[in-house]
């Protein structure tokens, strides 16, 4: 069941909302929590019931291990606390690795050694990357003694809470579990409902109206059989760049909005990433909860910046390489990770040297770097081979320069204008508008702060919700692939 579907908006969400608060109103708070877990499991099963047992096993395993870690007393045990943690983390990573990377490894093994080992064609269980990361963080924090006494029901709500279950944000137990425990949050809060609907509507609009429109043009370019002209190359890459942003941030807004209906505040995941003026700035604004996870549970344990300059560069690079691989099993994702890791190393070195750059130029370089690297990311999504990326990049930088018919008399040029896009010149208006939105418009979190109970926000909410009248394209969210 997608957030952008009628069954979710008109059935699942209102029914879950009303039953949850009805049970709380009757002081059946534990039952309400249990109901929320069941509703979340039903929500998950709607996508893939086959993978439900896997998620449940993972949840029970990590909860048990986490409890063991937090109550650990050395004297009574044969194994050390660290061993227990390593066992837990490795089991989680092996589970993720088996489902996500086995075929990729076999494929490359066959290519490298010219063998013919059959692929296993393992389907990736939905949300596995997200719930595995959340639970690894829980284990590490249990090891560090940073977790409190939580019962299984609380833990189950933290892992399965349906707004963030499928594609994040990657939430931390310390920011979620206390919220579920708070009595104040068990009572309907009309302000939160109004705000939640506003944020959800904004996300719905971003996904259905903007992202899905750019998806068509992006796919046209990446799937095209023929070479692309320069204009077509740039339209494809920019469409892909805007699609990814509006798709994922739209999803996050919807998740934040839904959670608010239940009085739960999910952490922000985006903060105008395309306004970034450096690659470091970009990663502070893009998929913030993933960056936070990578920093806290990978970069810092690797030594962070505490072990000398060279080691810092290496840690930074390794973190982003692994971040790239986390996104998917394919060489384009690996290259994407390498490019971002490399760019962060260069940026850090540049800062070290004390160089400065004009803000506009810095934005221009950053945006173009991101746009170009998204081409590889998109190729990863489109089957994982480089040929699509090569075709788009070739079009962008060496493609034929084609002039519109109306300007041909004034300028030199040949060929058909926007052949691939059947002359739909309003693509440019969309691209300009998208630039305007991402560069000059407040982001959804800024809107959240500004939100007031007045007619302006009411009308905006209604306008956003008009997107329900174009829900004919049942398109999944990009990050469901991870």
């Amino acid at each position: 069941m997608l957030f952008n579907s009628y069954e979710f908006i008109f059935l699942f969400l209102p029914i879950t909302f009303f039953i949850y608060f009805y049970l709380n109103q009757k002081h059946l708070t534990e039952l309400a929590k249990g109901f929320l877990v069941l509703a979340s499991l039903y929500f998950y099963s709607f996508f893939s019931i086959i993978n439900l047992p896997l998620m449940l096993i993972s949840m029970v395993f990590n909860y048990t291990l986490g409890k063991e870690l937090s109550k650990y007393i050395q004297k009574k045990r044969k194994y050390s606390k660290k061993m227990l943690l390593v066992f837990g983390v490795i089991t989680n990573l092996m589970l993720l690795g088996y489902f996500k990377y086995t075929d990729f490894l076999i494929f490359n093994f066959n290519r490298l050694l010219d063998t013919n080992m059959p692929l296993l064609h393992i389907a990736l269980p939905l949300a596995i990357s997200f719930y595995t990361f959340q639970q690894i963080a829980y284990l590490v924090d249990s090891y560090r003694g940073e977790t409190k006494e939580y019962d299984f029901l609380n833990y189950a709500v933290f892992v399965t809470f349906f707004p963030q279950l499928i594609a994040g944000p990657i939430v931390h137990h310390s920011e979620m579990m206390p919220q579920f425990a708070k009595m104040k949050n068990k009572v309907k809060n009309y302000y939160n409902i109004a705000l939640g609907l506003f944020i959800f509507g904004m996300g719905l609009f971003k996904k259905v109206v903007i992202a899905d429109t750019f998806a068509v043009w992006s796919n046209m370019g990446f799937d095209a059989k023929d070479a692309l002209s320069m204009t077509e190359g740039w339209i494809s890459s920019l469409s892909g760049t805007f699609q990814i942003y509006f798709d994922f941030s739209g999803y996050t807004d919807m998740a934040i909005g839904i959670a608010l209906l239940f009085n739960i505040k999910i952490p922000i995941n985006f903060f105008s990433p395309y306004k970034a003026i450096s690659i470091q700035d970009f990663w502070r604004r893009w998929h913030i909860t993933l960056s936070r996870f990578l920093k806290d549970y990978l970069y810092i344990p690797l030594g962070g910046n505490r072990k000398g300059e060279i080691r810092t560069y290496l840690n930074l690079f390794t973190t982003f390489l692994l971040g790239g691989i986390w996104h998917g099993a394919g060489w384009p994702f690996v290259l994407w990770g390498i490019l971002h890791g490399g760019a962060l190393v260069i940026h850090r070195f540049w800062q070290k040297l004390g160089f400065r750059m004009n803000k506009f130029l810095a934005w221009f370089i950053t945006f173009n770097f991101i746009n170009i690297t998204w081409v590889f990311f998109n190729a990863g999504l489109n089957g994982g081979n480089f040929s699509a990326a090569k075709k788009v990049l070739k079009g962008m930088f060496t493609g034929e320069i084609v002039i519109p018919d109306s300007l041909k008399e004034l300028m030199l040029g040949t060929g058909k204008w926007l052949n691939l896009y059947q002359g739909e010149s309003y693509i440019f208006i969309w691209i300009i508008m998208a630039f305007f939105l991402v560069l000059f418009f407040p982001n959804s979190m800024e809107w959240r702060k500004k939100f007031k109970l007045n007619f302006f926000y009411m009308i905006c909410t209604v306008l956003f919700f008009l997107a329900i009248f174009i829900l004919y394209r049942k398109s999944e969210f990009i990050y469901f692939n991870f």
């Binding site: 009309y190 609907l197 109970l453 007045n454 009411m458 919700f465 009248f469 174009i470």
Partner: protein, 319 residues
């Protein structure tokens, strides 16, 4: 404003908007074809059959592309023939042979069916395209008013999800589909055929002068074979009305005459094992340019001539 009042007003507006949308869909359903399929002429045909055709009275269906819609006037077929009592033309613009085969799957809507006519030209055969996401059983029941309320509601709901598309279709309907001097005309006669009134300056010169390439996909002939086989199996007559080409083009361009002869020969071979399948060679009518709207589409005068010829052929065949 307090939050409770804010939400009350917000939900009132939501409710109003939803009711306006439902009202618009009801209005649209009454006046325009709902986008149930991917083709407007198909949607228009579903609406037409549902509203005007008594499915029990139909014993003959015509399928095909625009060559099926424009080149036979079902009303004349019905009035001239002694064998045919009720005709409905189910043809859809741009239908390939494989899509025409899919259209024949709608025959379940007509319980007293006796014969099926596929009206086509070689130019319908170059591509093996088929309708995707096609549910003939549901469509047949929809046409015949046999869907239960919830199934009907699902069809209508799925078709009306995209309100901007409905608004756009409403806007385009008048300018594109209501003038009989356009090839996009969708004004059906009482059998569902579309007689074209394209003469003089309305004739599109490049379509008049230039013949189509001689390309026929092997899958088109396989589809023809399957259509004949199904008809035979179900005890129905199957007629392939091979429509005429403009005589000057037929005589001037070898590729046209070769294509028509090739399709005739292949069809003869395909139909040989089936006693119920017959080829009707309409090129032999030697129709003059007076009856053509372009190289292969007939005007309203021409489609009467072919209807009469087909009726005569059927009467002789079914003696």
């Amino acid at each position: 404003m307090n939050a409770k009042k804010y939400l009350k007003i917000l939900f009132s507006i939501f409710t109003l908007v939803v009711f306006i949308a439902i009202g618009y869909v009801v209005y649209f359903t009454k006046h325009y074809p709902l986008p149930i399929t991917s083709r407007i002429s198909f949607d228009a045909k579903l609406k037409f059959v549902r509203e005007y055709i008594d499915v029990d009275k139909i014993d003959t269906i015509i399928v095909g592309s625009s060559i099926g819609l424009n080149n036979i006037q079902g009303t004349y077929l019905e009035s001239v023939s002694t064998k045919i009592n009720g005709v409905v033309n189910l043809s859809v613009y741009e239908a390939t042979t494989l899509e025409a085969e899919q259209l024949l799957e709608l025959r379940t809507a007509f319980p007293n069916l006796k014969r099926m006519i596929y009206s086509a030209q070689y130019s319908d055969m170059p591509h093996p395209y088929t309708y995707e996401d096609y549910h003939p059983k549901i469509l047949a029941k929809y046409m015949a008013h046999e869907l239960n309320f919830f199934s009907w509601l699902k069809v209508v709901f799925d078709a009306s999800k995209n309100i901007p598309f409905l608004i756009n279709r409403q806007r385009e309907w008048k300018e594109k589909h209501t003038y009989n001097n356009l090839f996009t005309y969708l004004g059906f006669d009482i059998s569902g055929s579309v007689p074209l009134h394209i003469y003089g300056k309305d004739i599109i010169q490049h379509r008049w002068k230039n013949p189509q390439p001689n390309i026929e996909h092997p899958k088109s002939f396989e589809a023809l074979d399957r259509m004949a086989k199904i008809a035979q199996k179900e005890g129905l007559y199957f007629y392939f009305a091979h429509q005429p080409y403009r005589k000057p083009l037929y005589e001037k361009y070898v590729r046209v005459s070769e294509a028509i002869k090739y399709v005739d020969q292949r069809s003869d071979k395909i139909f040989a094992p089936y006693s119920k399948a017959k080829l009707i060679r309409l090129q032999q009518l030697n129709m003059s340019d007076e009856y053509f709207a372009d190289r292969t589409h007939l005007n309203d005068k021409g489609s009467i001539i072919t209807a009469k010829a087909i009726a005569k052929f059927i009467d002789n065949n079914e003696k």
